[in-house]
């Protein structure tokens, strides 16, 4: 009984509305991706054409060899930084979620409430200064590694909720029998719970991948004095802000498409995890 009775006339109107919004949604993306395959001359002279007259990889080759935008190195930086962040977040979210779902310890409720309130308490971006100050004690305030350390110590509140909810839905008798067999609390996590967390871990992985790959402000501040560590997003924004960007649309467009490609690829194969993660986080949390 999923279907509500809709007559033909209504159907046409509905599809029309949906298609108009779809065009509005896709136009900017399609235009930019198609333009990146235009020649530099065509980008300048014929902005009104959506699709290039002659498709060319010229801009990508220029971008690959350019000094202004070192795509290769930046892509590598983005890649390792993102992979490391995803791994760290998977570990911290699953462990905290599990402990709050199954652990018995003093102040459990208080600690959980305090952690949850993090979503709402924030003094904004100015707190980067004291964070820098702490990280500079271990000389990590000027590199992506420092940002990873921050990730290690961070509390992924939404993910924590997702894992906690998931673990609570698992039957308890398995870990009880494991406990009788002499398995420790930590052992139960690794041997029994963790293997069952796959679906929720996939959700957290894609959402973290997306957020980290796309992040701009934090990596920009952490790579300020180490330009060699710039990620792709930071590098492209630096080119845009340098004022040369406007005259180098060919470079910017190719870089933009390269920076979008991994995210679009992951979304194409794993969109159900994006949507389910979002819906679970909002409706249940």
């Amino acid at each position: 009984m999923n279907e509500i009775k809709v007559n033909k006339c209504e159907k046409i109107v509905i599809y029309l509305v949906l298609c108009i919004v779809l065009m509005f949604t896709l136009f900017p993306l399609v235009y930019v991706i198609a333009s990146s395959f235009k020649t530099n001359v065509e980008i300048m002279a014929h902005p009104e054409r959506i699709f290039p007259e002659k498709w060319t990889f010229e801009n990508y080759i220029t971008a690959w060899n350019s000094d202004a935008l070192d795509v290769g190195r930046m892509f590598f930086n983005s890649a390792w930084f993102t992979v490391a962040s995803v791994l760290i977040t998977l570990i911290t979210s699953s462990v905290t979620g599990y402990v709050f779902a199954r652990g018995h310890f003093v102040f459990k409720k208080t600690i959980f409430a305090v952690f949850s309130s993090l979503m709402f308490i924030s003094l904004g971006s100015i707190t980067i200064y004291p964070q820098f100050e702490v990280l500079s004690l271990i000389n990590l305030n000027k590199s992506l590694v420092g940002l990873l350390v921050l990730t290690c110590f961070g509390i992924p509140v939404v993910n924590m909720y997702l894992v906690r909810g998931f673990v609570e839905s698992l039957p308890k008798d398995m870990d009880e029998s494991a406990k009788i067999d002499g398995c420790t609390f930590t052992g139960i996590f690794f041997r029994i719970i963790l293997p069952l967390l796959k679906p929720i871990m996939a959700t957290i992985a894609v959402l973290t991948f997306n957020g980290t790959w796309n992040s701009y402000i934090m990596p920009a501040m952490f790579t300020m004095s180490a330009p060699k560590q710039q990620t792709l997003i930071v590098g492209i924004m630096a080119l845009k802000n340098s004022g040369q960007g406007a005259s180098q649309w060919n470079l910017m467009l190719a870089g933009t498409v390269i920076a979008m490609a991994p995210v679009l690829f992951v979304f194409a194969i794993a969109n159900k995890y994006f949507v389910s993660g979002l819906a679970d986080g909002a409706v249940k949390g």
Binding site: I4, T96, Y98, H104, I121, F153, I155, I236, A282
Partner: protein, 317 residues
């Protein structure tokens, strides 16, 4: 018996620390939570205390310049901080135009998508697509499209609507329009997903009953759909309002305040004035801390006001 007892006691004392931890669930819990608890103290609580204290100092990262100034930072902010207050006006203007477009649009689309028509998931996924793209990239895409020599201007002149290319980012009101358009574009998909999830919990027989009673589609929307999801609606709107009030990065990547810092929202203003790498010169961070505290108070106050105002709405069902 006593002998046996004492033997086990001495044995217990000799049990190593590792064994003790192994047998205590509580100890393991705290060890597993060590990183987040330390992180919470060092990277959340300490920075908040730091900022709250520094708000009463003049501080520009040079230790010898640091001095206690009492309430001066706050006084300056209220007396001479017209730029900051104008940024709040911009924030309210941005939100009061963007949200009334974004939220109803998302709700209507979600209602259409939850009718169970073929291809609903396809449409929903594509609506969500802009939300997975980096804000920085959104900024580049829109500055390309709305470039003086970009596609929109060339279409407008081909159609004979404009004679001269419009300098979209050179004028406060056109820049604001582009900001709102881009803001809706990059965020409405999230709300479509939220609303579709909420609507999937509304029992379908309600609509069937309404059909039999002869209620029209519009009536059904306002009498069934809206009341049934009012609680989730309240949360979604809260998230959207909170997100809009804290819009900062998006403004920096889209207009960077152009023209002449007139499109900076409050958060963007703080970022552009005080953040390393985004500010110019050596700002007085104490002033920035005072500003951040006032911003947080304004955001919290609006959030609480909203919750009070909508209490009745949430109880509707």
């Amino acid at each position: 018996m006593k002998l046996v007892d004492s033997i086990t006691n001495t044995k217990k004392e000799h049990i190593s620390l590792v064994e003790k931890i192994k047998s205590s669930e509580q100890a393991q819990c705290f060890i597993l939570l060590a990183l987040p608890i330390i992180g919470f103290l060092v990277f959340t609580i300490y920075p908040i205390i730091w900022s709250a204290l520094k708000a009463f100092y003049y501080y520009d990262l040079v230790p010898s310049n640091t001095r206690f100034v009492g309430l001066d930072n706050f006084i300056t902010l209220f007396k001479k901080g017209s730029d900051y207050w104008r940024a709040w006006l911009v924030t309210f203007k941005f939100g009061s135009i963007k949200l009334p477009i974004e939220i109803p649009l998302a709700l209507v689309l979600a209602t259409l998508l939850s009718k169970g028509l073929k291809g609903s998931n396809f449409f929903r996924n594509f609506y969500y697509l802009p939300c997975v793209i980096s804000l920085a990239i959104v900024g580049i895409i829109f500055s390309n499209i709305f470039d003086a020599f970009g596609v929109i201007n060339s279409w407008l002149s081909k159609l004979g609507i404009t004679e001269h290319p419009i300098d979209w980012f050179g004028n406060t009101s056109t820049a604001m329009s582009v900001l709102i358009l881009g803001g809706v574009w990059s965020a409405f998909g999230t709300n479509v997903v939220y609303f579709t999830a909420a609507l999937s919990n509304v029992p379908k027989d309600l609509y069937e009953a309404a059909d039999i009673e002869g209620a029209g589609r519009i009536t059904q929307f306002f009498k069934i759909t809206v009341p049934m999801i009012s609680k989730v609606f309240q949360t979604i709107l809260l998230l959207a309002i909170n997100g809009t009030l804290r819009t900062g990065e998006y403004i920096l990547v889209m207009t960077n305040g152009a023209p002449a810092r007139t499109t900076l929202t409050s958060e963007a203003y703080v970022m552009k004035t005080f953040l390393p790498g985004f500010s110019s010169g050596t700002p007085n961070l104490g002033y920035g801390c005072a500003m951040s505290i006032i911003s947080s108070i304004i955001c919290a106050a609006i959030g609480l006001l909203y919750l009070r105002a909508t209490k009745k709405i949430a109880d509707l069902y």
